[in-house]
Subunit: 425 residues, 2 copies
Amino acid sequence: MAARAGIVVTGTEVLTGRVRDRNGPWLSDRLLELGVELAHITICGDRPEDMTAQLAFMREQGVDLVITSGGLGPTADDLTIEMVAEFSGRQLSLDEDLEERIADILRPLMKRFRHLDFDAVRAANRKQALVPEGAHVIYPAGTAPGLVVPGKPTIVVLPGPPRELHAMWPEAVETEAFQEAIGGRTSYEQQTLRLFGMPESEIAETLRVAEAEVEGFDELEITTCLRRAEVEVVTRWEPAAQPAWDAVRALIAERHERSLFSTDGSSVDDQVAELLAGRWVAVAESCTGGLMAARLTERPGSSAHVAGGVVGYSNEAKASLLGVGPALIERHGAVSLEVAEVMADGALARFEADTAVAITGVAGPGGGTEAKPVGYVCWAAKLADGSKLVRDARLPGDRAEVRDRSTTVGMHLLRRVLRGEDFEI
Amino acid sequence: MAARAGIVVTGTEVLTGRVRDRNGPWLSDRLLELGVELAHITICGDRPEDMTAQLAFMREQGVDLVITSGGLGPTADDLTIEMVAEFSGRQLSLDEDLEERIADILRPLMKRFRHLDFDAVRAANRKQALVPEGAHVIYPAGTAPGLVVPGKPTIVVLPGPPRELHAMWPEAVETEAFQEAIGGRTSYEQQTLRLFGMPESEIAETLRVAEAEVEGFDELEITTCLRRAEVEVVTRWEPAAQPAWDAVRALIAERHERSLFSTDGSSVDDQVAELLAGRWVAVAESCTGGLMAARLTERPGSSAHVAGGVVGYSNEAKASLLGVGPALIERHGAVSLEVAEVMADGALARFEADTAVAITGVAGPGGGTEAKPVGYVCWAAKLADGSKLVRDARLPGDRAEVRDRSTTVGMHLLRRVLRGEDFEI
């Protein structure tokens, strides 16, 4: 049986949603790689009794490993170490080496800000050097140290800031207590399929067919979800169930040939980045307001193939920067296939690019008409050799969702025009 | 004593982080408005025993209300209704009216997709019409119905898609079972302060001073956090503790006069949108790749004051679209105060705008030098009347964080130049 783990995220700011937890998702990927099954994530505020209750819940559920994130800061509401010490029945004592190390880290940081009393800051951080007896200390990547506290469950205490948590994770994994806790692990396989241009209910129907036809279907742990306008199918299986998954995957590939665009874990962003190698792309966008260009420049190294973009939010800007004449807008409207195509032409010309994508639409909540309601969006993807895909669709969702999904469709049009495909979307 | 609530988020895709939970944060705001204290959020996958364990945990913790989100879809891994029925000891039966309603909803949706077998889809959705005895049914906003199941705790079952959950929430709140569950509520006050341009440890120091000086400090529930390069201080208190909070707030205002920019809950985005009324703003950006323009166009109605933007990702684009001459880049580098200012001038001219903000920086992970390391960013905010703020800083974080924080600094520079302020940032 695989080792099981739980994640306890602390902090009133996370519980109340003012800050989004990015550690749970990251940790769950790391656990999967280690063959450890994640059973529960729990989030509590800064109330000590709620954190203790969650730790007790994890113990009752019999998890082998608990990872906590957050609550290691200098402020009085940061209580994790104290709670974990109490929960595991261990005394706290001051680790003087650690205290000195934290002071060394703080000194240069303080130079960035004026009017700070160094001693006051150091006093505030002294509590971060308190360590439960017998715990393995992980030296800070920021200013907060981490801990691995042996026991059943073994508790790994990490800071909230993702960069610090990431930097400290490898050392935590290498500790004896961690390795002992996950000792009984099984290895799992996992594969992600991604599909675009179909509703989630169609994949549900395909899985029902698979359930009836494929022997060993029950051995597969399959989850499906809609994500940024794509359908994602993630399957985990133990090695013995490989033939069952091969059969199910073949069935999906057969029934959804045109929609299935990724079987190797790659996102459409990965694929477009690869297709753009050696090319020069420019963006012309209106309703997405910069999000399409931002998406194309999200990854390191994108400056090798992204020339830039124009956000032509006003009609004047569409005219002066993209060459969309007022007469064209007058005739077809700013949100039209015709304008999208001229925007793409404008981007190609302005940036001397060989690839362009253009988006114009009604993001809402206002501005919709009967003919062009909120969510109606037009796209054009064009290459310098004249090949092109020009499409429209009505996207569901609120303003933010329409804007985000518009960039996903833009990515898929780029992908298809660069691959020379011409499917409907 | 205030009623306490818990939120149970289900779905392997959320547990494993492939989909981000947006319902927890939204629900916690709604609970706060109702004076209900949120004690725990728990996340589980699609394994029935894990969900049952979390429901039992909530009951053991004595919460009055549990809200579940997700697991109501047509696929076999959607098990919430079944689990809740079992947990509350209620039989499931088919609600035929509800079944018909779901069929009516599906019919037009199906027109958007070809090659679909309507009866198969309807069969897949029949399980969504199974209802536990005695539960209040909330008719679907999408295709999944919600439930309010009376008991201790009362369980509110809502679908995962945020829009559907939002639409169904008011009806859930109005049910007798919900109102009974939160009967013992106390009213809380809450205020959010936002500060910019100081480290979190400084606010910690101020709160320590407050703790020593202000009577009744212990009655305040104060949380602080760093969020998108700002420090946020959120305080909750019962009416009797008002004087204590007034004193603490005055102390913060006194010690951090220049940093405190919001006491009324407004974000810098709100304030900039207000300051831009009647104006015409344009963006010139490089390392942020469109995110600054996207942020300015995030809210409805922004077309009234946003002209557009240029993403001058390549030096050629900076030259041809923003008038940044190659000689200037040669002399100072593409990431320099001088280039930032000329980019702002270019945006003013190109878009015939009266307000402009420009950003150029090293987002990383590559491209850093000793003089201009990763995270080094230059900004210029300029008005048509010649007033301007030109600044640089080295921002912490990875590529995504540097890009995001750069837009926050851009917003604050716009705010200050529009208010005629000239603080250091």
